[in-house]
């Protein structure tokens, strides 16, 4: 076997991880709005709303336009926009006397657009209240302006998401841990079936090695998830359904190793742990793929929504995310391979020593 045949996939894994680190860290975020204040207002007033932007160019692009948007139909344009710096801007709104809704209050988002940055949105930025309602009058006031002629943002950039900000990049480091773990456990499932069917005499050892690497990825997934959660969801552990289920899944595979060290007889140990491994993978499917989709979760793509998409993983992010998943999976198989070969050498050395004695 040529050197390339043995090493090409390990090199590929290393290069893909390197690519995900470089591209994932160096590409900038799209301009966005970090915060706006005040967040509460009443009708029939003139309001100055100060907007704090991120990666924005309010001063150098003189054509800032700001809208207060109630829904896709109803919005008002700011009567005056005063940029204070590249990232600070004050928009003045003449809030009409009536809202176009029969309720006493409405949530508005703020949309900002200029020729350098393109459009940026801050959802539920302003809570507006009215004492009495007049829907017809409200219609007339809020229908006048329309959001149109939006610029497009330039360059290859990652999306700006409200609470995530730069941590959206963790998608390339935290999520591939879980993908890698699933692939490693899938590999260990294949080998334990092969072993039990008598097709692979080393199947049990391969299962252990793959589970070792998979467990490492699982624990790293939990750890990185906790760090990420602390600064976005405000708590290391918020009892989110996916967090809990992932922790249970990790414990199930931890139990595999406890079971393995608990049985003395080698033949029995290999058979029992291989059988356990099949059941472990079967329990993994409802834990990670079914239960988190049945209830509400803080994770994107859960709570009835089968896959993540849109602004959580746009096409630019896919260009970094999928190579990262493949790269980390290959690295995981590399780790498992090293572990397996070390164990094989250990067995070989032991038999050689026993033969000599």
């Amino acid at each position: 076997m040529s050197v390339l045949k043995q090493y090409w996939w390990k090199t590929l894994g290393a290069l893909l991880v390197l690519y995900s680190l470089v591209a994932g860290l160096l590409l900038p975020l799209k301009p966005g709005i970090i915060e706006t204040s005040p967040s509460i207002g009443v009708v029939d007033t003139t309001m100055d709303i100060s907007i704090r932007g991120y990666n924005s160019h309010y001063l150098s692009s003189g054509d800032n336009r700001v809208w207060l948007k109630l829904s896709n139909e109803f919005m008002i344009l700011a009567s005056a926009v005063r940029p204070l710096s590249e990232t600070n801007l004050i928009a003045t709104f003449q809030i009409p006397p009536f809202l176009p809704v029969p309720e006493q209050s409405a949530d508005c988002s703020i949309v900002l657009d200029n020729s350098i940055d393109g459009p940026a949105v801050k959802p539920t930025a302003l809570f507006l209240r009215q004492k009495e309602n007049n829907v017809d009058m409200g219609f007339a006031y809020w229908k006048k302006d329309q959001i149109q002629n939006l610029h497009t943002s330039k360059g290859v950039r990652f999306p700006f998401r409200g609470i995530l900000e730069e941590t959206i990049r963790n998608t390339y480091y935290h999520v591939p841990m879980w993908f890698g773990m699933i692939f490693l456990f899938l590999g260990s499932l294949v080998y334990s079936i092969k072993f039990l069917r008598g097709n692979d005499p080393h199947g049990a050892e391969k299962t252990t090695a793959l589970n070792m690497a998979g467990l490492l990825f699982g624990i790293l997934g939990l750890l990185t998830g906790m760090i990420w959660a602390k600064f976005t969801w405000n708590s290391f552990w918020s009892m989110d359904v996916k967090q809990n289920m992932a922790a249970i899944a990790t414990l199930i595979y931890l139990a595999y190793f406890m079971l393995r060290s608990a049985i003395e007889d080698e033949d029995k140990r290999d058979k029992v742990t291989s059988a356990y491994n099949i059941f472990a993978f079967i329990t993994l499917i409802p834990l990670l793929f079914i239960i988190p989709r049945m209830t509400d979760s803080l994770h994107p793509g859960n709570g009835g929504n089968p896959a993540f998409g849109g602004e959580d993983l746009d096409n630019t992010m896919r260009l970094v995310f999928y190579p990262a998943v493949l790269g980390w999976t290959l690295i995981g198989f590399w780790l498992a391979d090293l572990y397996f070969r070390t164990e094989q050498i250990k067995l070989r050395v032991l038999t050689l020593i026993n033969d000599n004695q």
Partner: protein, 69 residues
Amino acid sequence: MSKRILIVAFILVLSQLAMASGTGEDFFRATGKIYVVFAVIISIFAGLIFFLFRLDRRISRIEKQINPS
């Protein structure tokens, strides 16, 4: 065993340093929370190094068996 205590102590000291560096949690929330990404990458790196250490120890044990002197 003492190595494990050392590792735990090291992690504790690191986290204390991060929290007590006068800036506390604000440090991680500064510049668009980019330091959270930094912490995540560091912990993945630490996990890989941990795996390497364990593998190293296994290989050392085999070497000792081949060469008991």
